[in-house]
């Protein structure tokens, strides 16, 4: 992969006109996702999105805006029994929606990593951490067991887990939540993916750990020069991580642009609303706060 390629923010007019043979890693064209069983508007509505190699795209929007559905669609986690998919998802020029299940599985296994929101449920509670890291390496990477164990230890070191040798023999319930999320990141990165999709990776963590995980993700993204799709409703987090922000609402992409541009000069009123809804510390009225703390004097 071209490691020197670092994208700058692409403006709205630019990304819409990206040609088909663009250098994009992922190119989503006219993607619609409709759940069969729900009589509701489609979860995704004619979405266009390009992700360049090495670029970090932040997907923001409220709950139900379709940001997770977009991530699922790229990773192939949408069950064709449940949804109707139309359009194209081009991954290095290959349309993921038309290739065979087996090819899709191989691409997923080797080139796409996915980090789920809740780390504690994305690790199999019955398998030791070492097993969970080495199995995909042996199955998809074709490594020998000894190599896979070495690689797993190296991955745990990479995500800054201490005593990595010991952790390999521990079960998920024996380590902390932040550490589980690091293990999940290590698992997602184990086969050097070209694209990492992080679906609210910090929501289930406390604020200190959140900051550590985001720092880690950013450092890894830069050192491994992979593309990152970062899904979050937390604009503060996205502002730190992303090169480009994509704002979604009701299954549509309503605004896209560089971080500074979207945050400083949002074009859409919805983005302005979203920005205005970031909780801020306000001046606290002294008497109110006293009453709040249980001083019940009239």
């Amino acid at each position: 992969m071209d490691k020197t390629f670092v994208s700058k923010a692409v403006s709205a007019s630019e990304w819409r006109s990206t040609p088909v043979n663009s250098p994009s890693l992922v190119s989503i064209r006219n993607l619609s996702v409709d759940f069969w069983r729900v009589a509701a508007p489609p979860a995704l509505n004619n979405v266009f999105l390009d992700v360049l190699p090495g670029e970090a795209v932040g997907l923001v929007g409220e709950s139900g805006s379709g940001k997770s559905t977009l991530g699922f669609a790229i990773a192939g986690l949408l069950d064709s029994n449940d949804v109707q998919l139309s359009g194209e998802i081009l991954f290095k020029g290959q349309n993921l929606l038309t290739i065979s299940q087996d090819d899709y599985r191989k691409i997923r296994g080797s080139k796409i990593g996915y980090i789920f929101q809740d780390a504690s449920s994305s690790l199999n509670p019955l398998l030791k951490i070492g097993k969970q890291l080495t199995h995909p390496l042996m199955a998809n990477g074709g490594m020998s067991k000894a190599d896979a164990i070495l690689r797993a230890k190296e991955l745990l070191d990479m995500v800054e887990i201490s005593q990595s040798q010991r952790r390999l023999n521990q079960y998920p319930h024996e380590i902390s939540g932040g550490m589980k999320q690091r293990v999940v990141i290590a698992a997602a990165l184990s086969r050097d993916p070209l694209l990492l999709i992080a679906d609210e990776p910090t929501t289930a963590l406390d604020v200190t750990v959140q900051a550590q995980i985001i720092d880690l993700l950013l450092r890894l993204k830069n050192s491994l020069s992979m593309s990152l799709i970062f899904i979050s409703h937390d604009l503060g987090v996205v502002a730190r991580v992303a090169d480009r922000i994509v704002v979604m609402k009701d299954g549509n992409i309503i605004e896209t642009g560089g971080v500074e541009q979207v945050l400083a000069n949002p074009r859409e009123s919805y983005t302005q609303l979203l920005l205005a809804n970031i909780p801020k510390l306000r001046h606290v009225d002294e008497s109110q706060s006293l009453r709040f703390w249980g001083n019940n004097e009239p």
Partner: protein, 301 residues
């Protein structure tokens, strides 16, 4: 050492049921060596004899040693229970997991076939089989397997349905795991605890069902000492030689009770929400397990 720790960690019901099952197994295993009489051997000279040292459970109306018949019956029941359990789980696990994981057409196909089998009352289905194939232990076994396969499949399917949408299954999918791998390494081990409980329940119910079929005369054929068959043969003598009915009936209840206790104990032992702490060991607690213990001895502060 590890075994001892595990053994101490088990709850009382599991341990008592293991003692009970071990007792029955030992009894039926050593019976051929301690009594010289074969279960079908007639003409010991006497009929309808009460318990003696030579014939601990007495002699039935045809002069056969009841002790060898009952112990033979335990073996037969255990064989039928185990066969029905393992066969229905062997079919039910792949069918249930695949139907839950694959969904769509496969799920509909399997579910409709199961619906069809569920539509017949159990005993009626068994009677139909006996009418077609003729009565006998093997027919009863086949009928029981066909009755319990849909029950096992449906149970496995519902357990797997709850498991397949967990994040680690999706994670394994993104990591490129194959369908077989996801089903065998991720879904199956995580539903295994409830399958263990299901297995003991099927074991117990199959034993009861086989006894019922034999009692009705559609199961084991006359010389075969099935516990149900022994009950039918001797029910005419219940007023004069009641031990001929009571002993096999109690044995059957003992066997089923021990299996149910095992299933019940396993359910509690494998349930992560229940505390594994051992309460005071008591025989009352064996049958009436303590409900959630009140905090602070139930007193308000």
């Amino acid at each position: 050492m590890k075994f001892l720790t595990l053994w101490r960690g088990l709850n009382t019901r599991i341990r008592v049921s293991i003692y009970m099952l071990f007792f029955l197994a030992a009894l039926s295993a050593i019976a051929p060596f301690i009594t010289p009489f074969h279960s079908d051997q007639m003409g010991t000279g006497q009929t309808l004899l009460g318990p003696t040292w030579q014939h601990p459970f007495g002699i039935d109306s045809m002069g056969r040693d009841q002790f060898s018949r009952v112990t033979e019956g335990i073996r037969l029941s255990a064989f039928i229970g185990f066969t029905v359990m393992s066969t229905s789980l062997l079919v039910g696990i792949p069918v249930g997991i695949l139907s839950a994981y694959k969904g769509a057409f496969l799920d509909s196909l399997f579910s409709r076939v199961l619906d069809l089998l569920f539509a017949f009352p159990n005993l009626l289905l068994a009677l139909v089989f006996v009418t077609i194939l003729g009565s006998g232990s093997w027919t009863a076994l086949l009928a029981l397997v066909i009755i319990y396969i849909p029950i096992a499949s449906r149970f496995v399917r519902s357990a797997a349905l709850a498991e397949k949408d967990r994040d680690y299954v999706s994670a394994a999918k993104v990591n490129g795991a194959s369908t077989f791998r996801i089903c065998a390494r991720h879904i199956l081990p995580n539903i295994a605890p409830s399958l263990l409980v299901l297995g003991t329940n099927i074991f117990a119910f199959a034993i009861l069902a086989e006894a019922a079929l034999s009692y009705l005369g559609v199961g084991a054929k006359p010389p075969t000492p099935s516990l149900g068959k022994i009950l039918t043969e001797n029910q005419g003598f219940i007023t004069t030689s009641s031990h001929l009915v009571i002993i096999p009936a109690v044995t059957l209840s003992f066997l089923v009770l021990s299996l149910n206790l095992l299933g019940d104990g396993l359910r509690d032992y494998l349930d992560p929400k229940k505390s594994s702490s051992q309460h005071k060991k008591s025989w009352i607690r064996l049958l009436f397990p303590r409900q959630s213990a009140p905090v602070n001895g139930g007193q308000l502060q």
